[in-house]
């Protein structure tokens, strides 16, 4: 079994990120991005990159990175998820970085690792391992494209295979899409230049699949962090909000719902740690896929449920724009749809664990 707990190093990384986010991320920013989508949020990413080296976390030291593993990246995502921080960590430092690592591209990685440039994989944000098609001219909705410098695009290559190509900012056209979650805004990406081929054929497919799999595996940790924020915030609110001359958290029905939510998060945490741990350990590809699909099938719904319960138990307050609960609900719902819905991951699992439909 992989280690499902957190190491001391991971806990210390968590503290650093949490305190940096507390200092550098204005709590009102996530909601404000809906009204002011042009707000420049690059300062936050710069801080996280320069102070904590997050951009190059998964990049080997030889290429200017920290040489850390998926376990550490998962802890980062838990904290970014808690805060619904608008950063390109998942899209650039996890997914695009994995594309380049698996494709063996050493040219672009140093700039990504240093945070000098950010990249994104150009596919619909709903794509998942084994369930995507090469891009014909344009793709939408693409996450991490707005603000990116480098666009990694699998397109139909010669002779029917996939050609994985890198495009600069001047080789693509971006149209922002009004998104349910404006802290991870989406865009339509249209290819206008020729790009540069990185790899082609099976190697291209493998790189894209590995990146989508890593994204799905680690998205579970973002969902975990977000869900834990929802539980903790709601427990705190229920302990202080008074109705009927009692804190509402003393009402047994509220207590039992929060207990059930705690139980759900115990599972969410285990599933997310399993996906991150097995990804870090490497090992049997089939077991990795099971862990990833299980994590996405479970954690996606769990995070949505946590955010929905948080909203409901905050009552009218939760329905207001002013309270921060809605920013988590929007991220949770968008995350549920990202990188494959739970329904799609369950049907992957049916294949993986030999439970045929008929």
């Amino acid at each position: 079994m992989t280690d499902l707990l957190y190491t001391d190093v991971e806990e210390s990384l968590r503290s650093s990120i949490r305190s940096t986010l507390q200092r550098s991320l204005d709590e009102g920013l996530p909601a404000r991005l809906a009204d002011e989508p042009e707000t420049d949020v690059s300062g936050l990413w710069r801080t996280l990159t320069q102070q904590l080296g997050l951009a190059g976390l998964l990049v080997p030291e030889s290429l200017g990175g920290a040489g850390a593993s998926a376990r550490e990246a998962a802890v980062v995502l838990e904290e970014l998820g808690r805060a619904v921080a608008p950063t390109p960590f998942l899209t650039s430092a996890v997914i695009a970085t994995t594309v380049l690592l698996v494709a063996g591209d050493e040219e672009n990685l140093p700039a990504l690792a240093s945070g000098e440039r950010t990249a994104t994989l150009v596919l619909p944000w709903t794509a998942r391992r084994g369930a995507w098609t090469p891009v014909h001219g344009s793709a939408e909705p693409v996450a991490g494209a707005l603000g990116a410098d480098l666009f990694l695009v699998p397109i139909p290559g010669e002779a029917g295979g996939t050609s994985l190509r890198a495009y600069g900012r001047d080789e693509v056209e971006l149209e922002p899409i009004t998104s349910l979650d404006m802290t991870r805004p989406l865009a339509r990406v249209t290819l206008t230049g020729a790009g540069t081929e990185i790899v082609s054929g099976a190697s291209a497919d493998d790189a894209v699949d590995a990146a989508l799999a890593a994204g799905a595996a680690l998205l579970a940790s973002e969902q975990l962090g977000l869900a834990q924020w929802c539980l903790e915030t709601t427990v705190q609110y229920a302990g202080t909000r008074t109705q009927f001359a009692r804190p509402i958290g003393s009402f047994q029905a509220i207590k039992h719902r929060l207990a059930d939510l705690y139980l759900l998060l115990v599972g969410t945490q285990a599933a997310a740690r399993q996906a991150a741990g097995t990804l870090a350990d490497g090992g049997d590809a089939h077991e990795l896929s099971i862990a990833q699909a299980t994590a996405q099938a479970f954690c996606s719904d769990a995070a949505v449920h946590a955010a929905e319960e948080a909203l409901q138990l905050h009552g009218g307050i939760g329905m207001t724009w002013e309270a921060p609960v809605h920013t988590r609900l929007k991220r949770a719902k968008a995350d549920q749809l990202a990188l494959g819905t739970p329904d799609r991951h369950r049907s992957d699992l049916a294949q993986l664990v030999h439970l045929p439909a008929s």
């Binding site: 939408e140 998104s179 109705q243 001359a245 929905e308 009552g315 329905m319 809605h326 968008a334 819905t341």
Partner: protein, 389 residues
């Protein structure tokens, strides 16, 4: 031809539904006793069974007669009218029922407060007597349509020396009073469909009191029972969120997967059964008065609207990731089925909060329908002013 049909014929004959101004037609409908046939004569009704209104409405519908603007004046029509009938003075009834039905008066509701949500009986807005007037100070919240309303029904505290339920009084308030300030309250959808209402020295004549001083809770309960009954009486099959999902399913084979099919069928069955339950409730209400049973319908509708609207996003995930528009607007009326799937998902979250949270509905069912023993109420029997807050 029944007497009722004859009356409708007469109304249609005397007021051509295609040329008469809506307000005039509705006024004439009220005068003919065809507004609410179960109301007494002279007050918009004919003292008939509640269910017979359906006959009238069907005939008027067929004649394309003007109808009251239920969406814009739901508080007035659905809540203020039955409350005024039950508790209002003759003068208040004469002054308001007709205009309210004609929708020349739009109404809103000033009940909830920041500290009195689920615990509505904890309203802290004070009404202090001053001659034959009352002076009102406090803050109300979650008021829909307050910026366009002419009148409000208000629940205020008139005595803090008695336990909370005993110290409230119910008023009709003129929203034009200079002591009333309305501010938009933005929701998670981006829209400001509701308002906060600040009352600062607003004045209300004692003639605008509904029910006795201290009787406010009983009056408000009538209002709320009528609110809850309004939800979901007699809808068509596949009405609401489920209809949008089934339409998508039928017209867009790309959304179909075995897993979503199984889930779709479960929601189809649940919503169909709830529709039948709503129809059953409507049938029983045709005879009687709304009671706490309608709380169950509100619970079911809220649950299903939320689940089905969430499922809709999973069904078409690329579309689900988008949103129609985040620009803050103050719509004249709320919409549950408008804009796009993301809006509907977010807006449905309010269904289990507004008009009494689902938790409060469950308390009502448990205690008032099932007769289970009450939970501990530390403020029971304690003067409002002495309850720790």
């Amino acid at each position: 031809m029944t007497d009722l049909q004859q009356r409708v014929e007469q109304l249609l004959a005397s007021h051509d539904p295609t040329t008469t101004e809506p307000a005039d037609f509705l006024g004439a409908q009220f005068d003919a006793g065809l507004a609410w046939v179960h109301f007494p004569e002279g007050k918009g009704g004919l003292s008939l069974a509640r269910g017979r209104q359906l006959e009238v409405d069907a005939l008027l519908e067929a004649a394309r007669a003007p109808r009251p603007d239920v969406a814009r004046n739901s508080i007035g029509l659905g809540m203020a009218a039955p409350t005024l009938l039950a508790y209002g003075s003759e003068e208040l009834q004469q002054r308001h029922l007709r205009s309210l039905f004609a929708c020349t008066e739009i109404w809103c509701q000033l009940f909830s407060e920041p500290g009195a949500g689920s615990d509505l009986a904890a309203v802290a807005t004070r009404a202090v007597p001053d001659g034959d007037e009352w002076v009102i100070d406090g803050q109300k919240v979650w008021t829909s349509g307050a910026h366009g309303a002419d009148f409000a029904i208000l629940l205020a505290r008139t005595d803090t020396s008695v336990p909370k339920h005993a110290g409230m009084t119910y008023f009709v308030v003129d929203m034009a009073d200079p002591g009333i300030e309305v501010r938009p309250l933005r929701q998670i959808t981006g829209e400001a469909e509701f308002n906060e209402v600040f009352l600062t020295g607003a004045r209300v004549h004692d003639g605008n009191r509904v029910g006795a001083v201290g009787q406010g809770w009983a009056v408000a309960t009538t209002t709320l029972n009528n609110e809850r009954v309004a939800i979901g009486a007699g809808a068509d099959r596949e009405a609401g969120q489920i209809g949008l999902v089934t339409e998508r399913w039928r017209t867009d084979p790309s959304v179909r997967t075995p897993g979503t099919h199984a889930e779709l069928l479960r929601w189809w069955v649940e919503t169909e059964v709830t529709r039948l339950a709503g129809e059953r409730l409507r049938q029983s209400l045709e005879a009687g008065q709304p009671g706490p049973e309608s709380s169950a319908m509100k619970l079911a509708f809220a649950h299903q609207a939320q689940k089905v609207s969430g499922f809709a996003l999973e069904l078409a995930p690329e579309e689900g990731l988008t949103y129609h528009d985040w620009t803050m607007v103050s719509p004249e009326r709320g919409s549950f089925l408008g804009h796009g799937p993301g809006y509907r998902y977010l807006r449905a979250k309010g269904n289990s909060i507004e008009g009494g949270t689902s938790e409060i509905m469950r308390n009502v069912i448990a205690e008032r329908v099932l007769g289970l023993p009450p939970d501990h109420r530390p403020d029971k029997g304690i003067a409002f002013k002495d309850v720790p807050r």
